[in-house]
Each structure stands twice: as structure tokens, then as C-alpha cells.
């Protein structure tokens, strides 16, 4: 039976499923990475994803326009990000708690709006898989990598872009400075508040898109608590990735691939109790970190509000 697990069909299936499953983690995780690098912890990602998912779903359900749906998710996610920024930066609230407050708000609000505006569970026609002309003809790998929907492609493209922004642009430099040593950054004329507002709002936008990737692309449905803990896993993966976009990609792919693997384990009837199969991605993520033995530290100013002295 283990041989059947290693067959081409199964391996290809695992790769394709893994790539799909990783998409929302990538969006939400990159958003959170920006925020945390600038020193703000946002535990409300899950709430932002849910309201973004609903906004996108509702827009598409009413108008059939996918772009409008995506915009709705961006706007709504951005607004929640802005609110988080306001509470964390201007009001200097404890970030762990405010995040969870936003999570509860997002969870309840999305469900409330769903019940009031839609009422029943239904599907929409979301983003369909789009094959990239030449690349998808590559034997074997072509259909896996290059026959996904638009939001999947964008998620993966986001990784090098995020890495570039963080490490090769002035904005990125400011973000990192604000996260490591806000006092020094402030004395050099960087507006700590403005940088943090930008990163946290951006985080909200990306979380909203993550939600939309579920409701109008991958699943094409909205239901109460659609994300079911995904946002929190995404935050955890930021730590796995050592606050780097490529590290996040590794974590998201590892987690999702192993998840896809355990699905196949069950479908192929390999005699592992289903509970242990479900555990596999979580165990292997920890094991991977142990093996990788990283020497990264969190941004020094993470969760500490910046107070201008004098």
C-alpha cells in the first residue's frame, strides 16, 4: 500500500492539492509578516479573512462580477486592518488582546451578515482555473503548477515581491528598522506610526484577499466560520518562516502538502487511524523546525507600542 502512495498519480495529486491549500496561508501569512516585522502582532487575521470572504462572496453573488468581489474583500479587509492599526498604534492597546477582539468581531459580523443578507448556504461561480498557455503543456509539472486559478498564481507571485519589498526597497528598510529599533528609526526621521499603519492595513488587505481566495475561488461557498482556524495557523507559520516571505512559503507548502498527503493516506486505506493522519501536518511542521534549527529572533519591538518620549 505504501507503494501506491508513491505512485505518480498520488504524488501529482498531493502536489496539486498542496499548492491549492497553501494559497490562503500565503496571503494571510505575508500580510502578517509585514505587520510583525514592523513590530505589530495581529491575532485578528482570522476575523479579517472571514469578513473579506463574506464581502467577496456577497459581491459576486449579487453582481456576478469577480473583480468587484475581489475589490470588496480588499476594501473590507483594509478597513479592518486600519482599525487594528488605529487601536494598536494610536491607542497603544495590548496587541494580543485587540487582535482576538477583532477576530471575534470578524467571526460574528461575517456570520451575522451572512444570515441577514443571504440566509442559506449557496455556491457562486468564482475564479476558474486558468492555464498559462505554453507553461501548462510541460509534461507532468505543467498541469500542476500552471493550471490553477488566478488568485493562486497571485499568491505565489506575492512571495518574491514581498521579499523584494522587504529587503531591497526603502519602505522595507523602514519597516525593519521600525520593528527592530523604533527609537533609532524615529530619531532618523522615520514616522514609526505611519510605517506601522501601512503594514497593518496592508496585512488586513491581504487577509481579506486570503478570505476571498476561499469564498470566490477555491471553495466558491460561504458558511459560518468558513476559515476554521486557518488564520491562526497562518500566524503560527509566520514564526515558522522566521519573518521571511520565503520561509513562510516553505512553511505553508510543508503544512499543506502534508495535509494533502494525509488525505491520500486515508483514501488509499493505509491503516493509520484517521486522527493520527489528521495530526500529521502539525507534527511534521514542528519536526521540520527542529531539523532546520534556526537562529532567528523575532523583531525586537514586536508587540511593544512605540511611545515618543519628550
Amino acid at each position: 500500500m505504501i507503494e501506491s502512495l508513491l505512485s505518480a498519480q498520488v504524488l501529482l495529486g498531493i502536489l496539486t492539492s498542496g499548492i491549492r491549500l497553501a494559497t490562503p496561508y500565503l496571503y494571510a501569512g505575508i500580510g502578517e509578516t509585514f505587520g510583525q516585522r514592523s513590530g505589530v502582532l495581529n491575532l485578528g487575521v482570522e476575523g479579517q479573512m472571514l469578513v473579506g470572504a463574506f464581502a467577496a462572496f456577497y459581491a459576486v453573488q449579487r453582481t456576478g462580477n469577480l473583480v468587484l468581489g475581489l475589490l470588496a474583500a480588499i476594501v473590507v479587509g483594509g478597513l479592518m486592518g486600519l482599525a487594528m492599526a488605529f487601536v494598536s498604534v494610536t491607542l497603544r492597546a495590548k496587541q494580543g488582546i485587540s487582535g482576538i477582539g477583532f477576530f471575534l468581531f470578524g467571526l460574528g459580523m461575517s456570520d451575522l451578515l451572512f444570515q441577514t443578507l443571504l440566509g442559506t448556504v449557496q455556491t457562486v461561480s468564482g475564479f476558474r482555473p486558468v492555464s498559462i498557455p505554453l507553461l501548462s503543456d510541460i509534461p507532468v509539472l505543467g498541469p500542476i503548477f500552471f493550471n490553477q486559478n488566478l488568485l493562486v498564481y497571485t499568491a505565489y507571485l506575492l512571495v518574491p515581491v514581498a521579499d523584494f519589498v522587504m529587503n531591497k526597497t526603502t519602505l522595507g528598510l523602514k519597516i525593519r528598522a521600525v520593528g527592530e529599533n523604533p527609537e533609532a528609526a524615529d530619531s532618523l526621521g522615520v514616522s514609526v506610526a505611519r510605517v506601522r499603519y501601512i503594514t497593518v492595513t496592508l496585512g488586513g488587505v491581504l487577509s481579506g484577499i486570503a478570505g476571498a481566495s476561499l469564498s470566490i475561488a477555491l471553495l466558491n461557498v460561504f458558511q459560518q466560520n468558513l476559515t476554521s482556524g486557518l488564520g491562526f495557523i497562518a500566524v503560527a507559520l509566520v514564526y515558522f518562516g522566521g519573518w521571511r516571505a520565503w520561509g513562510l512559503l516553505a512553511g505553508a507548502l510543508l503544512f499543506s502538502m502534508v495535509n494533502a498527503l494525509q488525505l491520500w493516506v486515508q483514501v488509499l486505506g493505509i491503516p493509520i487511524p484517521s486522527e493520527f493522519a489528521v495530526m500529521m501536518p502539525y507534527v511534521l511542521t514542528i519536526v521540520a523546525l527542529v531539523i532546520a534549527v534556526q537562529r532567528v529572533r523575532p523583531p525586537t519591538a514586536l508587540t511593544k507600542p512605540f511611545i515618543r518620549e519628550g
Binding site: 476575523g47 487601536v87 494610536t90 491607542l91 497603544r92 492597546a93 495590548k94 494580543g96 488582546i97 485587540s98 482576538i100 477582539g101 477583532f102 477576530f103 471575534l104 468581531f105 470578524g106 467571526l107 460574528g108 459580523m109 456570520d111 451575522l112 451572512f114 444570515q115 459560518q224 476554521s228 482556524g229 491562526f232 495557523i233 500566524v235 503560527a236 507559520l237 514564526y239 515558522f240 487511524p273 486522527e275 493520527f276 489528521v278 495530526m279 502539525y282 507534527v283 511542521t285 514542528i286 523546525l289 527542529v290 534549527v293 534556526q294 537562529r295 532567528v296 523575532p298
Partner: protein, 276 residues
């Protein structure tokens, strides 16, 4: 966070040992492999829940359930000799008293013992502690093991005082109803001081229970209640700034009164915050 690693329907010492190892694993991973504790504990949540599901559907299932075709994942009811006594006439059980005692015990441990001093030192400045000769790895692992033990105790108290059996509600939180999660919020509300968690936990518990009461009385959708909970949390936590400004103003006033800026009298809570 590894709240569910305990609570077998057996004497609670074994449960606490299980919880200690559950909490100790992330601690050891952090100490020796620098595995970030947020990552390891979030992952272990799901590992613990699935492990518990496995046990509840298998080895420790209620024999009554085995006979039925539908196997509800729960254990047999524990015998009343093990249940925690109630503080009559309320439904409050001994667990509440235990919780408050533990909070005081943790305060004493952290602020009045050498071990506690070292734990705090390691948290504040690991490099300096290492220079001072404190074994950082050991204290990190130890503090997480203690944390796990307390979480396990919470699980034990819940099982022996309220549920009287182990079960799962099918969600990603087992039987705890997100208590571990809420505990983090309570800890933060309590300014990360053990004595602060006592009123914070009561407040947060009151919020959750009161919200459900509201739902029943007015028959609003449960979703509205969750939204309101979120808003209340955000608003309460947003008063931080106002609170800090008020403390500073008070300190400035007192300084002015004494006409000696050097002898600024800080409020007790700010003092706790400074040492926390």
C-alpha cells in the same frame, strides 16, 4: 496552551504529569532547538485534540457507548468520590478556589523565590542572565512545563468539577470551549501579573456568560453576541492609553504636591508592570 494534554478520569496527579510533559515539550524544543514557542504550541493544540479524539473513540471510551452502533466520543462518568465539591448554594465548585490559590502561588513563586527571580530574569534579558550564570535553557523549559501543568490543572478541574467525564464537542478545542485561548486573553488583561488574572478571568468569564444570557433573553442570533463580545474586548483594551495617561497625570500631580520630582509615587499596577 496545551490545555488538553491532561484530564484522564484518573487521579489528578497523573493528569498533571501528562500536562507537564505536554507543556514541557514546547519548552524543550524552544530551549534546545530554538523552535519558536508560538509555532510549536499552536501545532500541539491540534495534535492534542486529535490525540484525545483517538483515545476517546478507542481506549478510554465509555463501555456503554461501545455497545451502541453510534460511538459518542466520551468516557464513563467519573464516580462522585472524585468530583469536586460544590460551594453550596451556588454551582461554583472547588476548582474556583483552587484557581485563585494557584494564582497566589504563582505570584509567590515568581516574586518571592530565587527560581522565580531567575525565570523573570531569563524572560527580560536572556543574554544578561546567561552572563550572570543562569541556565537559560533549563529555566525556559521549566517555565513552559509549569505553564503546561497549570493548563493541565485547568483541564482537570473542568473535568472533575463540571463535566464529570471526558468528551469532545467535535470542534478544534475538544471539551475546553476555547478556555485555553480565553486564558491568554485573561492573562493579557491582567497585565501579565498572576494576581491580575484573577479579576481579569472573572471579567472575561462574566462577559462570555452574560453574552449568552443576553442571547437567550432577547433571542438575538448567536452571531450578534460574538460580534458584541469582540467589540467589548476591543473597546476595553483600547482604554489602555487613557489609563496610562491618567497614571502619568496622577504621578505628576503627586510630584508637584511633594515639590520633589525625584520622589514620584507610581501606582501599584504600574509598579507591577515595571517588574512584570
Amino acid at each position: 496552551m496545551a490545555l488538553r494534554w491532561s484530564s484522564y478520569p484518573q487521579p489528578s496527579q497523573r493528569a498533571r504529569w501528562a500536562a507537564r510533559s505536554g507543556g514541557g515539550i514546547p519548552g524543550l524544543l524552544k530551549a534546545h532547538f530554538n523552535v519558536n514557542e508560538i509555532l510549536s504550541t499552536v501545532m500541539m493544540n491540534q495534535i492534542a485534540v486529535q490525540g484525545m479524539n483517538f483515545l476517546l473513540l478507542g481506549p478510554i471510551i465509555d463501555p456503554v457507548q461501545l455497545e451502541r452502533a453510534s460511538r459518542i466520543p466520551q468516557t464513563a462518568r467519573i464516580s462522585s468520590t472524585f468530583s469536586l465539591p460544590r460551594l453550596v448554594p451556588t454551582r461554583l465548585h472547588l476548582g474556583t478556589v483552587i484557581a485563585i490559590l494557584m494564582a497566589v502561588a504563582v505570584y509567590i513563586l515568581l516574586w518571592r523565590t530565587t527560581l522565580g527571580y531567575r525565570i523573570r530574569a531569563v524572560g527580560l534579558n536572556p543574554e544578561a542572565s546567561r552572563y550572570a550564570g543562569i541556565n537559560v535553557a533549563r529555566h525556559v523549559a521549566l517555565s513552559m512545563a509549569l505553564s503546561g501543568a497549570l493548563a493541565g490543572l485547568a483541564g482537570v478541574v473542568q473535568v472533575f468539577g463540571v463535566n464529570f467525564r471526558m468528551f469532545t464537542d467535535g470542534s478544534a478545542t475538544g471539551f475546553t470551549g476555547s478556555a485555553g485561548f480565553h486564558g491568554i486573553v485573561a492573562a493579557l488583561f491582567g497585565q501579565l501579573h498572576p494576581l491580575g488574572t484573577i479579576p481579569a478571568a472573572f471579567f472575561f468569564g462574566g462577559l462570555l456568560v452574560g453574552a449568552n444570557r443576553l442571547q437567550r433573553a432577547v433571542q438575538v442570533p448567536a452571531a450578534l453576541i460574538v460580534t458584541l463580545n469582540g467589540l467589548v474586548v476591543v473597546f476595553v483594551v483600547s482604554t489602555e492609553l487613557w489609563r496610562q495617561q491618567r497614571a502619568r497625570r496622577r504621578a505628576a500631580e503627586i510630584a508637584r504636591e511633594n515639590e520633589d520630582p525625584a520622589s514620584v509615587d507610581v501606582s501599584p499596577l504600574d509598579e507591577l508592570e515595571a517588574t512584570a
